[in-house]
Amino acid sequence: MQITNKDLRKKPDITGFLFILPAVLVLFLLLLYPVFTSVYYSFTSKHLVRPSYKFVGFDNYIKVLSDPNFYKAFMTNIKWTVYSLAGQLLVGFTAAMALHRIKKFKSFLRTILIIPWAFPSIVIALSWKWILNGVYGFVPIMLQKLGIVSEIPQFFSNPNLVFGTLVFVNIWFGSPLIMVNILSALQSVPEDQYEAAQIDGASAWQSFCSITVPHIRNVVGLLMVLRTIWIFNSFDIIFLLTGGGPANITTTLPIYAYNIGWGIKQLGRSSAITVLLLIFLLLVCALYFKLLNKWEKEFN
């Protein structure tokens, strides 16, 4: 009896299904079910501590959508995402190009550069708070000693500096992931295409545009989708560095939702905020995928 490729690959019988069953259960019980209950609670007066609650219709949504702080948090969130993403892409991309260019110490430099990726968010927060501390901080004291500033800058309490500080820390943390992914995409470009372009007398810029860009475009596109979502949703860095302050300058939607849910204990209203957040992200994602599909078609 001979078992062909076809038997092994194409016949999804019951045993095959058993392999993916646990993962499907996790997906339904731990991801889809909670999201649906979240939608359900967004229509109730659910409180963090009190057990009884009732159905309130669109009350939570009306409250949220008529709160000026919601719009403020939304705009802060957009600003936070755009600046962080642009910075991470710029640093990640240029670092990948530079790493791709060199030969000696490549592996060493790469290893050093990915250090931030492994940092727990609480240590990111504590280390930068310490480095930028307004009394003992290494950087502020250095800046003062070098005569760049006359007074020690307060990176976390000065309203003019705090947002930039947060974005800087986020770029520091997020660039390595972008860098290694773009680097591996760069390495997948066949060398002979460059050789051919070279023989045809193409300039470095020309071969970059016509060979490199099409090859890495999909990876960069997907990275942008994932990073946008990730940054938009990110809670830890802001919560741990500023808690949304001073005076709500750095409050993004996840922080706002946390404050409503765990600060004033209105879980129902907090759910409404997170559902709105998800709807917005779904829209952004749909748009991105449309764009990616278009790129893919153009490329092929």
């Binding site: 993916i20 430099l109 280390s127």
Partner: protein, 280 residues
């Protein structure tokens, strides 16, 4: 020689090395500074002007962290929670990744979309239903509660990474075993798993690091000091009236060093897999 000509322009080597060195210093500085600060003595850490290296390497702050704050208990919590999460997540994900590659290849493309969608759920969105659910199950302030919550992000991510590794297993090897009469699970366990073992180890370490590093779920689910994970215990140090930076840096060193070292060991296997596995 050929290569050098081809890659000319763009970034000259000198500019590349200079740029990468600056970035390298920025990337490594917080780690270096945490460690150096942790080894300073009580008077020295807040001395002005700041010295870069400690005058004497003192273990004062480590002593406080371990003996006064009983941080060891938090470390044990984190190891147990991250370890159990890794074990369960890897079992589920390895089965699923293999199942997808071998039996449901078409499902693969759809799966990427599903995974990106789950990636899109803000942790804060899941935090609300989780805290209600765990409350009604009586799992608030328990390790089991956190392990269950951690599976929600570990499993999709691990499947994503593992699918790439399972794709490299040649089907011919499996066919031979099947001819000998082994069933699917035996083939998977005895033949496929050993081949992808290095990949599985890398994904396991990555899963462990992510669970070890997690903060938000641990924050909303724990309110007793003994049950805190390292992240939340570190955060609680910051809540004290007099900020003790030396203690915080010593504790930070103990939390961040394992993450960084293990991540360095596996980065080549993990990095790139993210985008490469999903675009194809």
């Amino acid at each position: 020689m050929k290569k050098r000509v081809l890659k000319r322009g763009w970034f000259s080597a000198t500019i590349s090395y200079t740029y990468l060195s600056i970035l390298g210093i920025l990337a490594a500085f917080p780690l270096v500074w945490i460690i150096l600060s942790a080894f300073k003595s009580k008077g020295e850490i807040t001395a002005y002007p700041t010295r870069f290296f400690p005058k004497v390497f003192s273990l004062e702050y480590f002593d406080i962290v371990l003996n006064q704050l009983k941080f060891t208990g938090n470390i044990v919590n984190s190891i147990v929670i991250a370890g159990a999460t890794t074990l369960i997540a890897l079992t589920i994900s390895a089965l699923a990744a293999y199942g997808i590659v071998r039996f449901f290849p078409r499902f693969g493309k759809a799966l990427t979309r599903v995974l990106i969608t789950t990636y899109m759920f803000p942790p804060i969105l899941l935090a609300v239903p989780y805290s209600i659910l765990m409350g009604s199950l009586g799992l608030v302030n328990t390790r089991i509660g956190l392990i269950i919550m951690y599976l929600s992000f570990s499993v999709p991510y691990a499947i994503w990474l593992l699918v790439g590794f399972f794709k490299t297993v040649p089907i011919g090897i499996e066919e031979a075993a099947r001819v000998d009469g082994a069933n699917k699970f035996v083939v998977f366990y005895k033949i496929v798993l050993p081949i992808v073992a290095p990949g599985i180890v890398a994904v396991a370490i990555y899963t462990f690091i992510n669970a070890w590093n997690e903060f938000l779920y641990a924050l909303i689910m724990t309110n007793s000091r003994e049950l805190m994970t390292v992240s939340v215990a570190l955060k609680s140090l910051e809540g004290q009236e007099v900020l003790d930076w030396g203690t915080m840096m010593a504790a930070s060193t103990m939390v961040v060093l394992p993450s960084v070292i293990f991540f360095m060991l596996i980065q080549k296997k993990i990095a790139g897999g993210l985008a490469a596995g999903s675009v194809k």
